[in-house]
């Protein structure tokens, strides 16, 4: 795969204490109560690395989507660092 920006949507709100696990990704709490993790992912290994972290935290994965540049941060909700 080419490296690129991805949005990983997780069910519910990821508690803040765990955000350190997703360094490098922007966390967006969505209006629908779910959480988006968005950012530049260098390769498949990095992507699977994030997915494994979600699995290990027993978080529920909703979607993984590549993002075109212009659509970044156009979701509802405020970006959280």
């Amino acid at each position: 795969m080419q490296s690129g920006t991805y949005t990983i949507t997780v069910k519910g709100k990821i508690p803040e204490r765990w955000l350190g696990w997703f360094d490098g990704l922007t966390v967006i709490y969505r209006d629908d109560g779910n959480t988006d993790l968005q950012g530049f992912i260098i390769d498949q290994a990095a992507l699977f690395g994030y997915l494994a972290k979600l699995r290990n935290l027993a978080l529920e994965l909703v979607a993984v989507m590549p993002v075109k540049c212009e659509t970044i941060r156009e979701h509802g909700g405020e970006p959280h660092v």
Binding site: K11, K13, P15, R17, G33, R55, N56, A58
Partner: protein
């Protein structure tokens, strides 16, 4: 030397369940019913905290079937290490299991994981008792070699094996076949959720908490029946002494993680300051023991604290029955780590690394050092354990750790470059190994200890084998290794042996290989021992010491009679070569078949070449041409599959040899051109099988001067190196060549010299290579060879017969002349005799008769008896 050879026993122990832990009879029943239905593979897959390991451990505890348990972690992604643990796990329940793997596990030349697994499977199939194998945390495994081996285990699991796979994700294995046949049971998140009655019982049994119906319903809904969530809820209630779960049951929405965190924080808040400090400091340890925690926290009461945590049900899991090692539940450990600062974690990692290093737990030590980002420490520990890792064959781990160091650090450390070079060499990555060696050329030799000097020089030798400088290098390696552990001395000796053998110094090579063989045997390095033995035997044969080689093989086989290891079978490869040299084609082919088969089974592809060659020729001699072709075909396929370019050329030469034996000279002549071009490398160095084929082609093609020159050169060096076995062969080729040029008396001189060399050891293969010489010079043969000699039986000639000298006249139309014996047999065939009748009449075996008839067909260019008779009549060979 620091040995990494510590198998952590805690990995082979199921987690100890709390006595008051609620049984889950419903799940038990599901599993038991599956078993009754004949299901054999049990896949338990769910996110952390759903009680996967717990249910597996309970089932293991309650079943009458002996259970092997293996808790996997990231370090097990080394095939050699994985197989060592798997074998140890099975041996814990069946001490006899894994015997055939002895001597092959934990060796740098260990066969592929898949090969070892197939051996283990054979033993499991033999075992007529049930055994249950639990692989816990299988999601940790992503090494492709291990996954291939696991697939084999799954595919070929005998009915007696109950395989329980516990993982956070579906394993990367193909299980569809089992599923389709109804032999796979899956326990997934849905199945592992606590039902209401289970949750009720659980809360009461583990915490003595009884919740009102409504709250219980709400709790189950919020936690989605998640075991860890329930346990936390119970803890939270218990510690507060209340029976309210107000926020959990009313306000918390979203994901279970949120509930979990809320509850964790609740529990956390209730803990004493002391306990919290302890938990935070130790949160990043993968295993906990009292002494390790004392070292990390500076306290002295950690054993008591761990026991208290266990009593209070605070997410510690004992890893053994004695209460020595514990670990935190993964979810709890993750939570604790978010409470720790980066500095705290770093300090803990460093202290843990030091403690583990001194406690003889180097794998854990190095992992902690890396986690601490303490590269100098990691580098130190790695340098200490590298020789041990190399010896144990944990090359994947060794390379991975070297690569984890920052480039400037690992490229400045000559020792690590050296070990990386060895790893590359042993895994067949010659280019990388060569590059590493070149990088080493620039470093200060003073930095190297004798062990490292020895390793460096041994490796350099292996690269320079075939050149003159290889010998002093190898000698220096042997000298440097003098006081080192046996494994390393053997490695240096093998390099020296190969360096000598390549230069034709077969006698000295034999001495070296003999020493290596004895040392490897004594130190239990069985795989290395058989390698040394095979080399020893080849070199003894080159020096004409067939009887000593025979003795060695027989002793080795006797000594290993009670040893079930397939390595014993490898000795038959060597024994087969000895019988081959003795022209005992039947015995040779039987032994070689066994030896080649076991080499194929163990993928010892580099050892097989000479065995396959001798097997094909033996079969050809026995008249079994079709089987001979099959051997070549199989050998060729393997060589291609493993990308062994030199072996491909080698087996093409063997094909040419077989065609020549059948009188098909055209193919061989084509091959000669290719041989010079393509296999030039095979024609370098001391004489070997390939040379002989080449000589044969030259002679058949009439290039006698070139052949004579080459033969004389090789004979000179064979004489110089006292390689009497090689010399005898060369003399016989010279005899044949002179016969072809019409100089019979010169031929007889060569024949006499050869006979003199091979008679004492009955190395008759040398003689039988040149049937034409034997038949044309039969008269002089009779004067050289005593009547009682076994040679007469081999060549099917009776010395007492009144045989007249060669009566056959040359037939210019034939590329290769028929011998008198062949003409004699042709006459009998023409008279309508069967092979059996001919054999009886001529006092030879049916095998020898067939061999002659095959030769006759080859020379006449026919494939059937009737054609042979017709052709011979047309050429006036017979009336």
């Amino acid at each position: 030397m620091v040995s990494p050879n510590v198998l952590l026993r805690t990995k082979l122990h199921p987690p100890v369940n709390r006595p008051q832990l609620v049984n889950r009879p419903a799940l038990h029943r599901v599993l038991d019913e599956g078993l009754m239905r004949g299901q054999r593979i049990f896949l338990i897959v769910a996110p952390p905290g759903y009680g996967k390991s717990t249910i597996a451990a309970m089932w293991a505890r309650d079943t009458a079937t002996p259970t092997a348990w293996l808790s996997l972690d990231q370090h097990d992604n080394d095939p050699v290490r994985f197989m060592a643990y798997l074998t140890a796990a099975l041996q814990a329940v069946h001490p006899d299991l894994g015997q055939t793997l002895q001597g092959m596990l934990r060796s740098p030349q260990a066969p592929a994981c898949e090969v070892l697994m197939s051996l283990l499977l054979e033993e499991l199939i033999e075992l007529d008792e049930e055994v249950m194998l639990v692989l816990d945390d299988l999601h940790q495994i992503d090494n492709p070699g291990i996954l291939t081996a696991l697939q084999l285990l799954v595919d070929q699991a005998p009915p007696e094996l109950r395989l329980v796979l516990v993982s956070r994700e579906d394993p990367a294995l193909r299980l569809a076949r089992w599923k389709a046949r109804g032999l796979l049971m899956e326990l997934r998140l849905h199945d592992l959720r606590f039902a209401k009655c289970e949750a009720k019982a659980f809360l009461e049994a583990s915490m003595g908490v009884t919740l009102p119906e409504q709250q219980l319903d709400a709790l189950l809904e919020r936690t989605e029946g998640w075991a860890a969530g329930l346990q936390l809820a119970a803890l939270s209630l218990h510690s507060k002494g209340s029976s309210s779960l107000e926020p959990v049951t009313t306000t918390l929405r979203g994901n279970t993680r949120l509930v979990m965190d809320y509850l964790l924080e609740e529990v956390w808040a209730q803990l004493s300051e002391e306990l919290r400090g302890f938990l935070v400091m130790t949160s990043c340890l993968s295993r906990l023991s009292g002494p390790l925690c004392n070292a990390v926290t500076g306290r002295s009461n950690c054993q008591q604290l761990l026991e208290q945590l266990w009593r209070d049900n605070l997410f510690v899991i004992p890893l053994d029955e004695r209460g020595v090692w514990y670990r935190y539940h993964h979810l709890f450990a993750d939570f604790l780590q978010t409470e720790a600062t980066a500095e705290q974690s770093k300090a803990t990692y460093t202290l843990a690394a030091e403690w583990c290093r001194s406690a003889g737990l180097p794998t854990e030590a190095i992992t902690y050092a890396f986690s601490a980002g303490d590269y100098p420490l990691a580098e130190n520990i790695l340098t200490e354990i590298a020789p041990g890792l190399l010896e144990q064959g944990e090359l994947v781990s060794l390379l991975r750790w070297i690569d984890m160091l920052p480039p400037d650090r690992r490229m400045r450390n000559p020792l690590l470059i050296l070990f990386a070079a060895w790893c590359h060499f042993l895994t067949g990555h010659m280019t990388q190994a060569g590059q590493a060696l070149q990088a080493l050329a620039h470093c200060e030799p003073t930095q190297l200890t004798p062990l490292h000097q020895g390793l460096l020089k041994s490796l350099q030798t292996l690269f320079d084998t075939g050149t003159a400088q290889a010998i002093p290098l190898a000698e220096a390696a042997v000298a440097a290794m003098e006081h080192q552990p046996a494994f390393f001395r053997v490695a240096a000796l093998l390099s020296l042996g190969q360096a000598r053998a390549a230069l034709g110094q077969a006698g000295q090579a034999s001495t070296v290989f003999h020493e290596a063989y004895l040392l490897a045997e004594d130190s239990g390095h069985q795989l290395t021992a058989v390698t040394a033995l095979a080399n020893l035997v080849s070199n003894l044969l080159r020096t004409g010491k067939r009887l000593q080689a025979l003795q060695l093989c027989q002793t080795a086989i006797e000594r290993k009679a009670a040893d079930p290891s397939p390595l014993t079978e490898v000795v038959y490869l060597a024994l087969g070569l000895v019988h081959y040299a003795g022209a005992d084609w039947q015995a040779a082919s039987e032994c070689l078949r066994r030896g080649v088969a076991v080499c194929q089974r163990l993928s010892l592809v580099r050892m097989m070449g000479p065995g396959e060659w001798a097997l094909a020729i033996s079969l050809e001699r026995l008249g079994q041409s079709r089987q001979a072709d099959q051997v070549v075909q199989a050998a060729d396929e393997i060589a291609r599959r493993y990308g062994l370019e030199y072996a491909v050329a080698y087996f093409q030469t063997l094909q040419a040899e077989l065609r020549l034996l059948r009188g098909e000279t055209a193919f061989a002549k084509d091959w000669a051109g290719l041989l010079e071009a393509k296999a030039g490398r095979l024609l370098q160095g001391a004489v070997n099988y390939v040379h002989y084929t080449y000589f044969r082609v030259l002679v058949v093609s009439g290039e006698t001067d070139k052949a004579r020159n080459l033969l004389n050169q090789h004979a000179d060096s064979a004489r110089k190196d006292a390689r009497s076995g090689d010399l005898a062969n060369l003399e016989m080729y010279l005899a044949w060549l002179e016969l072809r040029t019409g100089d019979k008396s010169q031929a007889e001189q060569h024949l006499k010299t050869a006979l003199h060399l091979v008679q004492p050891e009955a190395s008759w293969q040398t003689m039988l290579e040149q049937t034409e010489v034997l038949s044309v010079c039969r008269e002089s043969l009779q004067s050289f060879v005593p009547a009682g000699s076994t040679l007469w039986g081999k060549i099917g000639l009776q010395p007492s017969c009144d045989v007249s000298p060669s009566q056959s006249t040359a037939h210019p139309d034939l590329p290769e002349q028929l011998s008198d014996r062949e003409v004699e047999i042709l006459r009998l065939i023409a008279a309508g005799h069967s092979n059996q009748q001919i054999a009886e009449q001529l006092f030879i075996t049916v095998g020898t008769t067939k061999w002659h008839t095959t030769n006759i067909y080859g020379k006449l260019g026919v494939s059937r008896r009737t054609q042979a008779v017709e052709q011979a009549r047309q050429l006036h060979i017979i009336d």
